[in-house]
Symmetry: C2
Subunit: 219 residues, 2 copies
């Protein structure tokens, strides 16, 4: 597994770089998903189960972005999917140029779906377009249902909200209806799934959405 060391991109316009990258990926028929969440919300665990379920239906690769360590990329490689670990040189987010360099590190193989697991952070990643075709965010039950009030931009920028760790809901005060109502107030079009990677609850709906998103991207 490859570890690449990235630096913040010095560029006139991250938005323009992101648009260019998105166009190239569209041309190739590769859907890039920008997966964002707080530390420990369950991004890698969601991906492990998703790859396990879909690996015979589509070609999947993962770019793990972290300040340090390679623990997530090692976990992804165990699923059989191709993974690279990107170190962000202390940076709290990925930009479009960093994403391009991480994609280059995946090599020449064609993929239907590439997931960028962004740095664990509910603020900064939402401010930078990476060139992804879709933005997906996770919020875990233990984090609390008030998070849309405190981190509005992430909910505004995401196409999909996945509420994770629903198996532990009995042990936390988490009102899913209140959470979804707050998210929809910021972003009326956001698609919401509730899942437990432990029990598998909700994965069918999420994976159906993903299969359709990959198919739509190729048209």
């Amino acid at each position: 597994m490859r570890i690449i060391e990235l630096k913040e991109t010095v560029t006139a316009s991250n938005d323009r770089d992101a648009e260019t990258l998105r166009g190239e990926l569209k041309q190739k028929g590769t859907l890039l998903i920008n997966l964002m969440a707080s530390p420990g919300a369950g991004k890698t665990t969601l991906l492990e189960r998703t790859i396990h379920d879909l690996r015979d239906r589509m070609r999947i690769a993962v770019m793990e972005a972290d300040v340090d360590s390679d623990v997530d990329a090692v976990r992804i490689e165990r699923t059989g999917a191709k993974a690279v670990q990107a170190h962000t040189d202390g940076m709290c987010h990925m930009d479009a140029g960093m994403t391009r360099r991480a994609l280059d590190a995946l090599g020449e193989d064609p993929f239907d779906l590439v997931v960028l697991e962004n740095v664990g952070n509910l603020i900064c990643p939402a401010e930078f377009d990476t060139g992804a075709g879709r933005c997906v965010m996770l919020l875990s039950v233990p984090e609390g249902d008030d998070k849309p009030l405190k981190y509005p931009l992430m909910f505004t920028k995401s196409d999909v909200l996945i509420i994770t760790k629903t198996d532990v809901a009995p042990y936390f005060d988490f009102d899913p209806d209140a959470c979804i109502r707050r998210a929809r107030k910021l972003n009326p079009d956001i698609t919401v799934f509730t899942v437990s990677a432990k029990t598998g609850d909700g994965f069918e709906e999420w994976e159906d959405w993903l299969i359709k998103a990959v198919a739509d991207w190729k048209n």
Copy 2:
């Protein structure tokens, strides 16, 4: 309860501003604690219980820093402690100048302990000295024991690590010994407490530390 709107400080040196502020607070006998953690790690809940237990022993105030909302400051005010809500204008951290303005908003009353509940973020707040006398970080059991590997700077910069939500440990794969070993590898001097705000486990040790820290600061 007062809400103040802050902007990033434009200054030659945040480190110098922080040193100046720390000196002034030392002079006044006010210990400022910079409390940092991921979103939803339990910062406000820890403070609610701590204030409840210590409010007759010391004069405590809280500065809540968030991108948006006032939910945390409203919760703190219910404990009877003075609170201000600082909005960070989208910023992912507090700097020394922002901290000074939040302190000003607390008014002229003397406090033994002021807690800055920093923006929920395990990366950026660790990069900015706020002028605090002590840095305390939380890591909640649901976030996972691998976090020192992925967010090393926060563990390096903190004087105290409080592992929270230990009541839900049976439902998560969290190895406290592995977590503490990883934290101590980065920061051999870090003081560690494990607490549950639900059951009260571990609060006596944490509050004893806090009482001593406040007393030491006045000497």
